[in-house]
Each structure stands twice: as C-alpha cells, then as structure tokens.
Symmetry: C2
C-alpha cells in the first residue's frame, strides 16, 4: 500500500482560499432562499467533503488562473450532488447521513422530494445566470446518467444480474459520471482544449470508480461514527457491491452465501455473521486492489498534462480518495 | 356565464401545424432516452392538454413569426410541467392521472422520483443546447416558486391557516408561476420588449389563477372519467381549496362542517355527504365567479397589445380555461 501523508480529502491547504469562496457562495445560494426552504436545507449542507467542487476548481486551475466561472460551477456541482443525495435518501429510506438525520427522516418524503428539486433548480439558476452553458451541458449529461443508473437498478432489481461488469456499469452511471463531469466542467472554465477536456474527464471517471469502490468497502469495514451512517446498509438493502461479488467467488465462503445473497429477504437474519465472514475472506483485499488499480489509471492520465502544483494535488487526491476513512 | 364555441383547450386549429412540431420534438426528447427510462416515460406524456407549450407558442407569436426557440422552449415547458406532475403524484400518493395509472403506482416511488429528475434534466438539456438562457431563467424561477409552494403546504400543514389570501398565495406559487413563466418565455423567444414580457407574464399569472380555481372546482363538481381521476381527492387529502373556503362561509352549512374540515382524520367519514352539501351551497357559484373575475383581468391586459390572431386566441383561451371540463 502506498502511504499518503494526509488522507483527509477535506484538507487541501493550497486551495483553501478558493474553497472558502466556494463555501461562501454555496451558503449564499441556500440563504437567499425563502423560509421554510432555507431552514430545511441549511443543516444538510454541513459536513460534506466537497470533493466535487474541489475537482471543478483543481481541474480548472490546471489550465488557467482562478476565475469566477470555476467558483460558480463548483458551487453548482455541489448543489447537484446534494440534490441527488436528498433524493437518494428518500429512495433508500435512509435515516442518517453525515451523522445527522436526513431530510426525509425529519420532514417526511414529501418535503424531501421537493427540497431535492429545489436544490437542483438552484444549481441551474447559477449556471444559467452566469451563462455557464458548456459546464451545464456536462453536468446535465451526468444527471441523466445518474438517473439511468438508479432506474436500471430499480427496475432490474434482481441480484441474479450482479457481476463485476454490471457493477461497474452501475457505479459509472451513479457516481463516476458526475465526478467526471466536474473535471470536464472545471477544464471548460479553464478554457482547456477539447482534447484535454476529454482526457481530464477520463481522470474523473477513474477517480469516480475509486471513490465508489472505497465507499462500498467502507460500508463493510468502515467505522460507523466516522462515515456518519450504520455499517452494512448496502447488503441490508440487497445491494451486491464489489466486496460481495468477490466474497461470492471466495473458495471458503462463496458457496455458503450464494443462496442467501440472491434473496433479499434472507439477508437481514445473517447480516452480522456475513459481515464477520467477509472480513475473513480475500474479498476486502481484492476490492482494495481494484480501487488501487483505478487510482493508478487516473494518475497515468495526469502524466499527459504539464507539471503544476494543481496537477500534483490531483495526483495526491487519487491517494486520498483511495485511503479515506469517511 | 359567457358562452364559448369550443371549450376544448386541446383544439386550437390556427396553431395545429406548430403544435404538431412541438409534439414531435417532445416525443423525440423522450425517445432519445435509453431504456428502461424511455418505456417508463412514454405513456405518461400521452393525453395532456399541452396548455403550457400552447402558451409559450401563442405569446411568442404575438411578437414575432414562429422560430425554433419558441418550439424548444415550449417542449421544455411541457417537460418541466410533466416532471412536476410525476413528483406530485409521489407526494400525493396518487394512483391515477389522465385516466392512467401513475408512474409511482406502476413502478413505485423510487422510480418515480428519479423519472421526475430525469425529465427535469431533459428540459434543461434542451434549453442549454439551444442557449435559451433567458427562457431558462423564467422557468427556473417558476420551479423554485413551485417548490416553495409545495414545501409551505407540507411544513405548515394545518388547515387553521387556510383562508382566501393563503389559498391565492399557494396557487400562485404552485400553478400560476409556471403558467406565467411560459408566457414570459414565449415573449422572450418573440424578442418582445422587457415591458411587454412583464405584462404578458401578468396575463399568465391571472390565467394560472383561473386554471387552478377551475381545477379545484372540477375536483368537486367534475366528471371523474373526463378529468381522469376520482372526484373529491383534494378534500380527502385535507386540502382546503377555494370551494371549501367559501363553503365554510356559507350561512346554512358553514357551522356544520367547520370542525370536520379542521381535522383531516374526520373528513373521510363524511366525504359523500360533504360533496352533496357543497353543491347545495353557494360555494360553487362564488368560486366560479372568482375564476371569471381573473379571466376578465387576464383579458384586460391583452387589450394593451396590438390586435392579432394570436392575441385573439389568448383571449379565447381565457374562456376555454374557465369553461373546461377536464
């Protein structure tokens, strides 16, 4: 395992000035809303890692000095991400996120559906107001991909289909597409060439894979307090993520759990045993190795860009995303 | 009551060519989506009155010959309206709309929330692709108003507050704001002057009031087959609309129902008696008179624009919206 001095995505001192500006504009976007919407949303924005705005900013800075297009696109990216989380929590009936009760838990599904719509609209308001149409295009593509991923999972809700290929298809749509779009949007704001925008988008795509694989890993081996929600939620909801796909291939445990994992209603009863056994199997190290492989791929792409402090932070970020604890 | 030759909003022969084009582009927007999204959405778009695209088109034509900006803005307006209906059906737990089962009824809330998000994104994709930023601005404002209206109703979900002022505040946000935005968007596409855009927006606002008042009236006295959903849904959900506000002021029935309507859980038991009594009261005629008053106000504004066949259709539309049966 590669060592990284500071695995906190939160902490990137080289861009702290710009991130403060982004944070201020993000809060302004929420605070300019009328009550009761403002009160409902304000808490929900606290405590995020702000990975997506950081990517917009850093990819932009690889191509140009900072400009307000980067700031507003970064804010819009975080708004879109947050809107999708609000709707995800409704869909997954989640009670907790970032160590806080979710909007659906406090106010009900009704309010959460609309609050998500409102936050999406806020993002487009910013992108529209500052004529950031090229960024908007990338972000809209990503939203559509995210929706496709969600609906595929819902409609084809059968665990029979879940293999590595299907898993990567889904995480590309549900997570990596937005992370990739953030990188493309940043590069657009930096007036990068078409070719470079595509390349940096691919960096984002691989980084997105790493992010989601680690997310799925943390749901198995993470610390509930640190990640802000209970462990084992995925499998409880019948989501067969990469660690479980590898677990089913394990020679010691695979056969034992094949039937259980194919039937959602059987899972709850064996959850704690399952979580213990998966840690004894090779599934965890195989999953981690896969994430590592994509982090390396992401870094390979960055080699094609000129050396700069911001490129180096993007390199470092691939390690941070891999080694994160929350 | 004013008589109108043809009360069908559907039937406006003077713009049938343009409406066919809008319909084709609307279907294209859905059909270019991947499965399973396409299949889920296709049916849901059938059978709408297309009031909002008609308004974009007609207000545009008041200021300029037809152009593709009008067509795409009209399509985007219908997409936004449809997305909001999909989410409304989730929120209201509605099983039927336009004589068909809703998306949440067939596929569940999960899929319906995401399908709505997808349709919103489709609208923005069109507006973004054709750089219709001024139209987008009006439509985004309307979406935010709609969300505010929904959340106000949800959070302040107490019937104590419901009086005429509150009712109009809510229907302005929930219905009239989008209808008004459609008129402003159309005028933008027609390159109208700022002043005229504001005026036509006011026409839309009043027309929106008429539309919603009549909607609320049809929920009391309409024909279930014609409107495509059961009668009395509003009151069953505890929504005190204008007919009920006037009913409570009625000298014969008001006192009898005051306590019942203040308590949602008491309503279901007396629903059929309530629907019979409200028809005997003066609530229906008072509500209709109110709608008539706003239809007249809408027409007053149109007098400030030069005579044209399209202005005259907008005049006629104020009667059609008032006298519609579905």
């Amino acid at each position: 395992m590669i060592s990284v001095a500071n695995p906190n995505i939160e902490d990137i001192p080289q861009i702290s000035k710009e991130m403060k500006l982004i944070e201020r504009e993000l809060m302004r976007a929420i605070e300019e809303s009328e009550e009761p919407v403002r009160g409902i949303l304000k808490d929900f924005f606290a405590g995020g890692k702000r990975l997506r705005p950081k990517l917009v900013l850093l990819t932009g800075l690889c191509f140009s000095p900072v400009n307000m297009e980067m700031i507003y696109s970064a804010v819009a990216a975080e708004l879109i991400h947050t809107a999708s989380l609000i709707h995800d929590d409704v869909i997954d009936r989640s009670d907790y996120r970032r160590n806080r009760p979710t909007i659906n838990y406090i106010y009900g599904n009704h309010t959460a559906v609309i609050a998500g719509d409102f936050v999406f609209a806020k993002a487009f308001e910013l992108l529209c107001r500052y004529n950031l149409n090229r960024c908007m295009g990338h972000l809209i593509d990503a939203i559509q991909e995210m929706c496709h991923g969600e609906i595929m999972q819902a409609v084809e809700n059968t665990n029979k289909k879940v293999d590595e290929d299907y898993y990567f298809k889904i995480i590309e749509k549900k997570t990596a597409s937005l992370i990739s779009a953030c990188c493309k949007a940043g590069a657009e704001c930096g007036k990068a060439k078409e070719e470079d925008i595509k390349k940096i988008g691919l960096y984002g795509l691989y980084l997105g894979y790493v992010f989601q694989i680690v997310d799925d890993l943390l749901d198995v081996i993470g610390d509930a307090t640190e990640i802000g929600k209970p462990i084992g939620q995925d499998i409880e909801e019948g989501k067969i993520t990469l660690p479980y796909i590898y677990f089913l291939q394990d020679s010691t445990f695979g056969a034992k759990y094949r039937k259980v994992l194919a039937n959602k209603s059987l899972i709850a009863a064996v959850k704690s045993e399952l979580l213990r056994d998966i840690k004894k199997s090779d599934a965890i190290s195989k999953t981690y190795a896969k994430a590592e492989e994509f982090a390396k791929k992401a870094r390979e792409i960055l080699k094609e860009f000129p050396d700069s402090i911001y490129r180096n932070i993007l390199v470092e970020l691939s390690f941070k995303v891999l080694k994160r604890k929350r």
